[in-house]
Symmetry: D2
Subunit: 150 residues, 4 copies
Amino acid sequence: MFETHLTVVGRIVTDLRRRIVNNQELISFRVASNSRRRNGEGTWEPGNSLFITVNCWGKLVTGVGAALYKGAPVIVVGDIFTSEYEDKDGLRRSSLEMRATAVGPDLSRAIVRIEQPQPKPAEPPAQGPDVEEPAEAHEDEEPADLALSA
Amino acid sequence: MFETHLTVVGRIVTDLRRRIVNNQELISFRVASNSRRRNGEGTWEPGNSLFITVNCWGKLVTGVGAALYKGAPVIVVGDIFTSEYEDKDGLRRSSLEMRATAVGPDLSRAIVRIEQPQPKPAEPPAQGPDVEEPAEAHEDEEPADLALSA
Amino acid sequence: MFETHLTVVGRIVTDLRRRIVNNQELISFRVASNSRRRNGEGTWEPGNSLFITVNCWGKLVTGVGAALYKGAPVIVVGDIFTSEYEDKDGLRRSSLEMRATAVGPDLSRAIVRIEQPQPKPAEPPAQGPDVEEPAEAHEDEEPADLALSA
Amino acid sequence: MFETHLTVVGRIVTDLRRRIVNNQELISFRVASNSRRRNGEGTWEPGNSLFITVNCWGKLVTGVGAALYKGAPVIVVGDIFTSEYEDKDGLRRSSLEMRATAVGPDLSRAIVRIEQPQPKPAEPPAQGPDVEEPAEAHEDEEPADLALSA
């Protein structure tokens, strides 16, 4: 069938681990996300937590290695799967893993500076949207109900 | 029923627009994401495009305003809705909008430096996961099938 | 880059429209989802609404055509894009569209009977999980914190 | 922070388990989803698998109990978390769990009949969208690029 897609907003809770697997560079780390919910009285209370191992390959390796560290607030996006393995005592264990497609620091919890777009030659950031937006006017009109969404 | 959640990986295609709505600061911008698909011959071909207006409130305003610009590669996460409005000619129009909950530059397409976690006092990043992970060993064991996911 | 994936839980608000496009059968319909949010006093209030046109191709046509109708509560899963077109007055308009990968009635709002799995020969439902689950015991152990997630 | 939302399209691989927890009815089952990917030659090959325990509370109990069984093709939507527990040998284990918000049979893999909308009095299905769609014409116009999305 299909890949299962997931986005997690959380925090890196391990050091980054960098190694070579099948002749490709891999950076992996664990992310934790804890939730809170508003109860019947309108106050917030802590909810469940999610832990996931995030694997970064290919284009992600340089940017992730340069920017992230244990404790960093992150957004991770990718396809998830159950990894089955034997622990050091020979016991069957499973863990939730992600093959990341996009990773970034969360700007609601960090001040960040983009030092360099990547790759440079092919994608000049100042004028370079991936696609041309059609010539329909969007920006000069004030959506009437914008205030409602505040 | 429920909020509809969406993650978009794309590029900012307008200047950031900063203003005050209902006594709250708002930064909004448009994001475009274009897809490609592998056809029957195994080669990639361009697919459809998605355009969305992203609204950043509250904690996101400072981080987004400090880091992002037209052309930046981004991940945006939030709840989406259809905004109905009249354009300047009095015509009913609709557009897809997001109330963002997390936004970040995409490290597969940018080199980024985290200058300062935010807020400082409450969340020291060096030692501060949001939650304690249970004392189950994850890191010292090599998942057997990791190579398969390369 | 990538397809943008979305799940909408809502209700069909148009009749189903069935036609042939490029020699393939297509069923399309509109789905609306409205949200509510719990405010500071703990009471629910109406939120924003989302409208989307859902396109069902291939394997989905038979099952969707047999089961669904205007008013049915549904889950729709697929890849989304912005469709640009000219209306009958020659005005440029855009709408949010989904190419569905999975569609089903929502069992929290409907009583449903599965009459026949599809396709029959290749996928006998009674004994047929898509994959073998490893021989790790899951079902005989009571998760300790299950009550917490109630 | 936030709940982590997930949609899984897969198949039920255990019997449904029905019981009372904290004076509330609960139905739980395991879902497996396996992926395939198109390789460089354009052919499909099997990918990773995901296993998740799905917990259905409240409004979902009646509809799920009436329709689903081991082997059924399903869509499950909800919030996920890591459940930590001790197995019968006293070992710490973890599993991925979902608190479902919407569940349905997948119409790309099953023929289904909706016997009864639920609840009856409040939500007549024939005329009952959750929300009124604005009076903008959507259906009479043929999106110009619809053929492209086939």
